[in-house]
């Protein structure tokens, strides 16, 4: 693992008990400070890969190092270096947003004063200050999602996994959310690994992407290099297609080959 690598996975394979193949010999390298997006249709294995890299799940075979650590052997040290935003909002509905953030800070060893300060900082970053004292269960879906992200950031992780982070957010909230995430990437040099079904988000915010198809990596590179391969604009102008158009063109080819 070189100094600039933050994730290195080799031969990751995972099958679910019913025999469903989730991942098949996945090799992946992600460099520090990257904004890395995992694309793929539903069930392609994106969330499974994130769960394995963040120690929430165990691969059947293969090796991986995340932040220089083995996710299964060094899970407690790993938790101090990574932040994870899973697809579901993992929130205690019977607490206020402010209480949850402060408590999360305390779990990471901060004292009361620092916890209060960091909680306020994150609430400002995610525009949650006016909802700080509300019960989590009364917050809108979008605000719950933002709070979920804020919780993953309390300890300033080196690496942030975001699994479909903007589901349930309206366009304005989503734009402000990405502004906050980009700021974290720029100012705190946090590496981002995300999955999304909003391809315009991937195009705008990612500098690296990997395409998962039926548990295998079908493409790895920059969005621009992906578009060079699958440039199929609607208006016939070469070099003008969006990532979404390129992705649909790719899926068309995959489906055609399958027939």
């Amino acid at each position: 693992m070189s100094e600039t690598e933050i994730v290195r996975a080799r031969g990751i394979t995972k099958r679910y008990p019913q025999g469903t193949r989730a991942l098949e010999s996945v090799d992946l390298v992600i460099h520090q400070k990257a904004r890395f997006v995992l694309l793929g249709p539903n069930g392609a294995g994106k969330s499974t890969l994130i769960r394995i890299l963040s120690s929430l799940s165990r691969a059947d075979s293969g090796q991986c190092r995340v932040c220089g650590l083995d996710p299964l052997r060094d899970e407690r040290q790993l938790m101090e270096r990574i932040g994870v935003v899973t697809q579901d909002n993992d929130l205690d509905p019977h607490a206020t947003g402010e209480d949850l953030l402060r408590f999360q800070c305390r779990l990471f060893g901060m004292d009361r004063g620092s916890s209060t300060h960091r909680a306020q900082e994150l609430m400002e970053l995610f525009d949650l200050s006016e909802h700080a004292r509300k019960w989590v269960k009364t917050l809108s879906g979008g605000n719950q999602r933002k709070l979920h992200c804020a919780l993953a950031l309390v300890h300033r992780p080196q690496l942030l996994f975001l699994d479909e982070p903007t589901v349930g957010m309206d366009p304005e909230v989503r734009a402000r959310f990405w502004e906050s995430i980009r700021r974290i990437n720029h100012e705190e040099c946090t590496t981002l690994v995300l999955t999304t079904q909003y391809l315009e988000e991937a195009e705008r915010h990612a500098d690296q992407l990997a395409l998962l198809q039926a548990g295998r990596i079908a493409f790895r590179g920059t969005p621009a290099s992906f578009l060079r391969l699958y440039d199929r604009p609607n208006n016939g102008t070469i070099g003008r297609s969006s990532l979404e158009q390129g992705y649909l063109a790719y899926l068309g080819e995959v489906n055609h080959a399958a027939r």
């Binding site: 963040s54 929430l56 407690r76 040290q77 938790m79 101090e80 932040g83 994870v84 899973t86 579901d88 909002n89 993992d90 929130l91 205690d92 509905p93 019977h94 408590f103 999360q104 305390r106 779990l107 990471f108 060893g109 919780l151 993953a152």
Partner: protein, 248 residues
């Protein structure tokens, strides 16, 4: 400590289970004592009468009422997904389960003190004064931890809320198959007398009686303590090792 603090705060926010357990225990004590307390003049009940004989039942049933708290608390965190958020923190995983068990123990301890205070008020004798109170508290706590940890262990392994209830409903018959209401010599059915010999709950109750009116021999207290420590240890081991298997 942070997680214990959170678990205690949650119990305080939803006090129905511990308060319900306390209320039921005092109710049973009052009703049974009033209903069949007339037999208390028999020599087998000693100087304390029927109230002192029945008193350990209220401590045992209180622990049974408070024991579902840890399982319920874990279930709530698993359903909301917050358990996964805890999992993604640098804490030891066993602490997520130990904390609600500790909160149950606090609830059981406070409830037991309340019942003991009520018992003293109504003249229940404590043979060794403060030492008896401490001994009763210890037995009650160990019994509470046993039930709480088993229910938390079942919950964490199965992820099903019935887990907590399964433990209570399994243990509930043991209370009736022991010397809860009558001394062994007065139990008429031979089979019940035999079962009560083998039933460890009998020794828990008799150990408490040794500390109260002294109607049981000291060996029963030792057996009761040994059983309580062993069962609490086994239950804790079962619950705390369950976090290795939990699906988040």
């Amino acid at each position: 400590m942070l997680l214990v603090e959170r678990a205690i705060l949650r119990t305080l926010r939803r006090p129905a289970a511990p308060l319900g357990g306390l209320g039921m225990s005092l109710f049973f004590l009052a009703v049974y004592s009033a209903g069949i307390g007339g037999v208390g003049f028999l020599p087998q009940f000693g100087d304390g009468g029927y109230l002192a004989f029945l008193f350990p039942m209220s401590l045992v049933s209180l622990a049974m009422g408070s024991a579902a708290g840890a399982g319920q608390s874990l279930y709530d965190d698993m359903v909301s997904g917050y358990f996964r958020r805890l999992y993604l923190s640098p804490l030891h995983r066993w602490t997520f389960v130990a904390a609600p068990i500790a909160a149950d123990a606090v609830a059981t301890g406070l409830g037991s003190l309340g019942i003991l205070a009520a018992g003293l008020l109504f003249g229940v004798p404590v043979r060794f004064g403060a030492m008896s109170v401490l001994g009763l508290l210890l037995l009650s706590l160990l019994w509470g931890v046993t039930l709480s940890a088993f229910s938390a262990g079942v919950m964490i392994r199965t992820g099903r809320p019935e887990g907590a209830r399964i433990v209570t409903s399994t243990v509930f018959p043991l209370v009736f198959l022991s010397t809860t209401f009558m001394p062994r010599e007065l139990i008429t059915a031979h089979w019940l007398r035999a079962v009560s010999w083998a039933n460890p709950v009998t020794y828990l109750l008799e150990g408490m009686r040794y500390l109260l009116a002294g109607t049981a021999p000291a060996e029963y207290l030792l057996i009761g303590l040994a059983f309580s420590f062993a069962s609490a240890g086994a239950a804790l081991a079962y619950a705390l090792t369950g976090t290795r298997r939990v699906l988040v």
